[in-house]
Symmetry: C3
């Protein structure tokens, strides 16, 4: 008796849940095999980090191993992973509602119209993959400068090893350096899944669309937010809790937000921004060499060389 | 020789550690089989998220699968998991010192006196489980509105898929929506283990006791804290680092803190609170449509429609 | 044809990557078997937490188990893990560039010169291991006080169990209490890997070099930073987003940062620091019983008993 009552209740609940699946179709994906999975993107990211920091990330590299053979093998594996993830994502966006293709609306990218034959997508994915991989040596050059900046910028840093193993800011910047070129190529979703993986592990949220110069150092890092259209010069140092964000949002005639446009600040070179400062707005420029005190709320430009401190209490 | 010296030292150390087990019994649990494990709560939470966002969470759902059969099977599995976790937790609280039952001191819940026979606990756990599960369709309705708010509220959002896959604020709110009804039913500990799991993964700390309206959006999210007795209206948007907290604490005559009472602010509808603002106190009300600037420190009420900005520097 | 083109391209890319391995040798470790792995340090930390909080961390402890036997077995296992990790790390630092030995420049530690024979390192590692383990009972005494402070300090806390299972601040302080004595013994890198593991899981970044009194409570915790030379008295309570950091950095004649020296503030006893306050500088002292309001920016000393609030808006 109890059993049948339970069953009828469950069935009623099942029916009500299925109705919500129909009512809110946008928040379920049934029968959609191409949605990029976080697992596959994280696997790819781990391979990339292993190639960037051999012996630090991934398994130890033995003394008797041939580095050339190792790199060749890893690159081969990477090409497969990158091409697969890009192909699935492009297919997903083509055959879905196409909404996520808005991410591609960057000047530098090739576009594919929804409904394009699968062959064209495969070709595009392969071209994107090769272009992406060919930039990896330059990314390593950039990472070397970031690590130098971290070691030189923090008196508590005792060695390069400590900086690579223990600095969440270094990890977040590393993932940004690896995600940004994918974003520029017009690959949808993948760079954001990468940056969110770094955000979860480090508390540092760098949108892959931001443009960041060399020798960038984020200390401690928890709570840092760097928005999509932020530009940052060279030798910039920021501390935990700093926001480089949008101030307010332009709206279309129908009340919806205008997507696109410069919404985030532009930071010059050799700028230091202390903990928990909030700098907002696409017209806000922080001049070269400026110092922004902790907890500051900045919505207007700051001249080069200026120091902004809170009012005395 | 070395061996025996080591043994005698170890034995002495063992003895000294065992003494601390006796001295500080509250921080060990030996022979306590009912302490709810984080693993079981996380397993439950993953099942709930899979039911809420099929195809996004958990394994992909194939095109040929029958959604009705899938939901029915998942609900059956969930009923077992929820009932087991609740039963263990109630047993733990009954047979322990009962201290954690204070969490149950909510108007809407049934109570069981310590020492109650196990059958009564099993029955109560089953009733709680069914009441909880029967509310899941309404939770999905709420989640659909939150996701709409996130997509409409962030110009950088390119698709619903990106919002569900990449927005930590959306994940934190999802876990809150799933934990809050358990809290209201008077289930001890479990909703807090859920909210802390979300806190660890997202940096967003929402106490399951808070009451939050529809279309709630938290952008970036790291460092957000929403206290136990906070109330939030509809269409509210908050940014990373915002605290809705307690100001100071009333004390009992013996100096211990009064537990219970309204300690956290009440936020109206259509309020926007920018990064790192701190709003404290149970008598602090933020009126409808108000805008609170970044880094603000608010301990008094703010009128509807007002904009609070920091003093110029 | 396609195949050979791909191969020649890959080979060129391999060559360019290998060049960056030579160019930036400091950010790869090929053939270095002694670099301490995060995995081994995390395994060690889990064992330590299990010994500190039996039945809470690790597997449940059955009623029929003999606690003495259990502790004895766990201590034996721990001794092996600690000695192995310390030995590898000392070897790594000896045979590498030695840079990471700067971490050891504390008054209280023994030193080993680079190039020292391996036997001496093994002996030193064993002595450090035993001294470390012999302090574990005192660490448990400290943890009991911290948990008491958390339970008494937060009106939302319903039980000791909730505090141990759900409070990230408690977890971060626990890891600090376990890492600090290793730091004082002069063990390089390991304490920092521990503190960064806690940082990633809790958002709380406590440098293992800080000196912190009894009954320390961090509520919520995300974004808290406590720098290397910070000193904190007893019964101190701090909230999420609080920074106890360095103000500016002395430089050597060659422009490099001076490493060492008191760079972080000194906090008295019974001080409360609200959310997102930033207190900077080695000469900044916060007197006993002071209260620092949320979002404050403090670079000068505050008298005992004073309350620092932001200017009215």
């Amino acid at each position: 008796m109890e059993h049948s009552i339970k069953n009828s209740k469950t069935t009623d609940l099942t029916r009500r849940l299925l109705e919500t699946y129909r009512r809110h179709g946008a928040i379920n994906k049934i029968g959609e095999k191409n949605l990029p999975s976080e697992t596959s993107v994280v696997e790819l990211l781990e391979e990339l980090l292993t190639l960037m920091y051999p012996g630090y990330h991934g398994r130890p590299v033995e003394r008797h191993e041939d580095p050339a053979e190792l790199v060749e093998r890893r690159l081969g594996r990477l090409e497969g992973l990158v091409a697969d993830v890009i192909t699935r994502t492009l297919n997903f966006c083509m055959h879905g509602e196409g909404a996520c293709l808005r991410a591609c609306a960057q000047p530098q990218q090739e576009t594919v119209a929804p409904g394009e034959p699968t062959e064209a997508i495969d070709d595009l994915a392969l071209r994107m993959t090769r272009e992406y991989l060919s930039g990896l040596p330059e990314i390593r050059d950039l990472l070397a400068l970031d690590i130098q900046a971290a070691f030189e910028g923090d008196p508590a840093a005792t060695s390069t090893e400590e900086v690579i193993l223990c600095y969440p800011g270094v990890r977040a910047i590393s993932v940004y350096r690896l995600a940004h070129p994918l974003f520029c190529l017009g690959v949808p979703l993948i760079p954001r899944i990468m940056s969110e993986w770094a955000h979860r592990r480090t508390g540092v949220d760098i949108h892959p669309g931001a443009r960041i110069g060399t020798h960038f150092f984020i200390d401690h890092g928890t709570g840092v937010v760097i928005g999509e259209t932020t530009r940052i010069g060279d030798h910039v140092k920021i501390y935990q809790g700093v926001t480089l964000g949008a101030l307010s949002f332009a709206r279309n005639p129908d009340g919806s937000l205008v997507k696109g446009g410069l919404r985030h600040p532009q930071i010059g070179s050799r700028v230091t921004i202390y903990a928990n400062a909030t700098i907002l707005g696409g017209r806000t420029r922080i001049g070269d060499g400026a110092v922004i005190g902790g907890g500051a709320w900045i919505t207007r430009s700051v001249q080069a060389g200026a120091t902004v401190l809170p009012p005395p209490r």
